[in-house]
Symmetry: D2
Subunit: 314 residues, 4 copies
């Protein structure tokens, strides 16, 4: 809402929330209305930030009315109902919608331009994929070596619902991994996209950790290069890949990406460390709620509507 | 449980929790059992850490079996059902139990020794009363001047239940007052005890704030002295009052009490600042969960059972 | 630098820092230069963020060259060299400059318009004065009652210099008062300005605390009203006073000001609690580095240069 | 000092600090004295917590007087002056002392018993080595695969000296890697000890991060097993290895180690995640100042003096 309220080409019509119905929507003169009262006919586009399972049916409904839809849930990110069922444990509510363009503009821009329906990725896949895409796409990685991602997420990445493990006292001063290895739901989504970038992408080892800060996500990525490439050359590869990307910054060699580079911005930052010739360490950071969620959704929206890609984002 | 598990005279028989039934009780070899399964006949004493309204009936039941009861809820802290109704909005579930000795050992020790039932106070009243009691009891304060308490509480003082306002992201980097002035439920309890110390105690102005730390509570107290007393003399008064108190430390003149003085200890610390001759500023600190709750409950238990007062607490 | 870099009417010529000389200035294409290399002739106005004692001579030098000067140090905030000496312990370096318009636009706007030299106040005086000014100016307060300010400051208010007490480990999880009562240097400055608003202003009791957050300052103010006024009426008085102020927001009755209302903004927020008819509790908040320092300095600059008052600030 | 003050077999004679000379030593009745005033003849053993380069000469002096010495600096941890020079950039001040028993009791207990001089390791090497030692010692790892350690350290691990990067405002809400890959000074020390456990140990990739908490260190370790071993079997290997270790706890399969398991204790906790048959993820945690420094130094001291190994530590 904060981003859209300041977006030069957007006029907000309504925001829905059953929990906060009647409460003022910050940065606007509107109040939240219950989901049922949303009049989809009154708008050109809808952003869906609903739980998975609830989101796809609403997307289908909005699409039936000819509206542009940016879906921030997990429902439309996996290309087939089978993979969806595997990771989310339930039958896909609207398999007829699949597959949907994946909303990572830096590697999917052409499919997003003018699209009617987009599945916007969240903070873990976005940050990981931006970090590893250049070496994958240019086939620099040894296919038999795993791609190790040690990720750390600020608590805003875990949603607003009050849960025992998100109570201030539980998180404060603590730090720990959860869903380590290959069991986090985003493993399927990240591997799907990695394989589009490179069909021989190695096995993903992905361990997220809960970081006791409100905002910011870091993916620490450890990869092994093919013998014909050298880790020090990755700096040039990344600088070239992202040279014209307005929302991704590759830091100069020797600097390290920090959360402060990106928190409260819509951008990502990446730093590279050649450990030896063949081992490369990549640090990729975003703000969970911006480039890792809403900011990127608006970036997709801009491409779908033919607006300047960074409208409302700089 | 942590304190009791290390207490030299205690053998834990059971711990109840409907939410965590079956889970291991830290520091023990026990697992939580549902409330209904608690066999009160198997114990000498029970600690009740239940919500108000649920606690008094359980206290009555345990008393009927002849058990010593330390109640940490609000149910038994107010002396009459009328005052209870005023602050908690419901009829008192067990008015026949009232009044009950108030579990602040430093000012109520004789009534606690050998008592069968004690109402243990929480962090706000304990910290405030320890801070203001010496000048009240010795009648140093101008009765027509208000007693101003600007209090700051770490989040553990707000309980473990997940609530939107206790979500990590809501508390982190924030700070704010709540229930300011004279509307917080503890105002009634604090004034009741202040009037026992001095029937002419001034009006209490009490504003709690939520502090973005896990543990520690500070009461910043501003009082006005009668003209026959001088603020610089308060130092000696407090040192004398607490000279033999094992769990209350008066800091030397010129030092200020900090949360680090008391966090993870069962003690309180107090510092005094003579602002002018007649205005005195008092800072009183405790750990919400220790001297501000469980530690003090065990101190009461020790007095009730005739054990050394600080058994298990140093 | 961040504010000025985005200011529509400002072109940054240089920034000085002996410690960081050569380092890039964030948000600009400039690098810091040593103080000695600053070419004052190249600019229209200078912002001085130097330690006290070093700042006044630089202000004098810039004034001699006819430049507009906004001084953020303490050197020019006290009206006479005597009072300065009392609070800062050294002879005033440039007594010929005194007195200087005090940079609190909400209560000094006319003197700031077109001024050549302004003393911009810091976070404690700004937040306190905005909170207490309406009742002082309209003479609502009992002159014999003290004005009690229990203030809490995020660590950015303490400056960037590394000191043992600002080490992360010392501040984290801790909270404590410092310079309590009437010894903090800002007591003199706040009382000076309170007396301009009302010559009969009561005694200031001012106790700052260090809050374990990076940004945000709260002044919790406790005042006693004359019998002809009623605390509930203060709401209307404050709303009226600040009705046309673009950077001060009075919250609706019943809401409480929080740090989140102001952090990373150039504004202040104020909430009012009528405790009884005669006792009023006021909560005033700012961001230490914005309305509490740089944002306000730019607001003054705008007035001095005849620019729109909020240019670069909204 | 806190540990020693409560140690049943220790009588503290003095503590030195040039910075804090004259200040009270917490938990004792002593005050710090300047280094020069330390009377080594009055004691049986000395703990040295000095900067590298300053520590070895003091160790030599104490040894010449026949005193037991536990050195917490880096001076005596590397076995040869050449390796020391490589990592610390200066000639070793006392090469005649090398090599010295390495103070990691779990894997070096026999050499520590009765030893006169011990080099106690710090938090990064201790936590990493405890995490990786079982698979190294039993030769489970593919020698050609790197051992990847993504480490996160609370700020107390960085020392007490005030530095710009340890200022509260710099650390708060931030998170970042530093000295990534193979350039951190502890890489040499960790590899040295890994090679003692297994001469074929793979290349160490070690990236530390600064975690915005005061205490706690986590080493997240990613290793590749030889084909004859299976990651799920590692659980039994670790449980067996540490079965009789009083200060190392292997968590049950499926649980993850968190900072809260170890903060303010003298122990370590380890959890294991079999990612696939051949990839194993190990999480090892300690408190920087306890098992990661002082607690372990006291554990060594106990072994050197023939005391019960955990005296003063449980």
């Amino acid at each position: 809402m904060e981003i859209l309220a300041h977006h030069p080409a957007v006029e907000l019509q309504f925001g829905t929330s059953n929990t906060y119905a009647g409460a003022a929507i910050p940065f606007t003169n509107l109040a939240y209305i219950p989901h049922e009262q949303a009049d989809l006919t009154s708008v050109d586009a809808v952003f869906l930030a609903l739980p998975h399972k609830a989101s796809a049916p609403m997307a289908a409904k909005a699409r039936a009315l000819g509206k542009k839809v940016i879906d921030l849930s997990a429902d439309l990110r996996l290309d087939t109902p089978e993979v969806y069922q595997k990771w989310y444990g339930n039958a896909h509510p609207n398999p007829e919608l699949l597959p949907v363009p994946y909303g990572l503009p830096e590697f999917n821009r052409e499919r997003l331009k003018g699209a009617d329906l987009v599945a916007a990725p969240g903070c873990y896949p976005t940050t990981t994929l931006l970090g590893v895409a250049p070496v994958l796409r240019h086939d620099w990685l040894q296919p038999e070596a795993p791609i190790i991602v040690d990720a750390k997420s600020g608590v805003s990445g875990a949603g607003r619902e009050p849960k025992p493990n998100l109570h201030f006292v539980e998180v404060y001063s603590n730090f720990y991994p959860y869903n380590p290895g290959r069991v986090h739901r985003h493993v399927g989504e990240i591997e799907q996209e990695m394989h589009k970038l490179n069909p021989n992408a190695g096995l993903l080892i992905f361990t997220p950790h809960l970081l006791p800060v409100d905002r910011g996500l870091m993916a620490s990525i450890y990869v092994t290069l093919k013998s014909e490439y050298t880790a020090t050359d990755a700096q040039a590869l990344y600088e070239e890949t992202y040279a014209n990307e307005p929302l991704v910054k590759v830091l100069p060699a020797g600097q390290q990406a920090t959360l402060k580079h990106v928190v409260r911005t819509n951008g990502a930052a990446i730093s590279l460390t050649p450990v030896t010739d063949r081992y490369l360490h990549i640090t990729s950071v975003t703000d969970n709620l911006r480039k890792g969620a809403s900011g990127q959704a608006v970036q997709c929206f801009n491409l779908m509507l033919g607006l300047p890609e960074t409208a409302g984002l700089l």
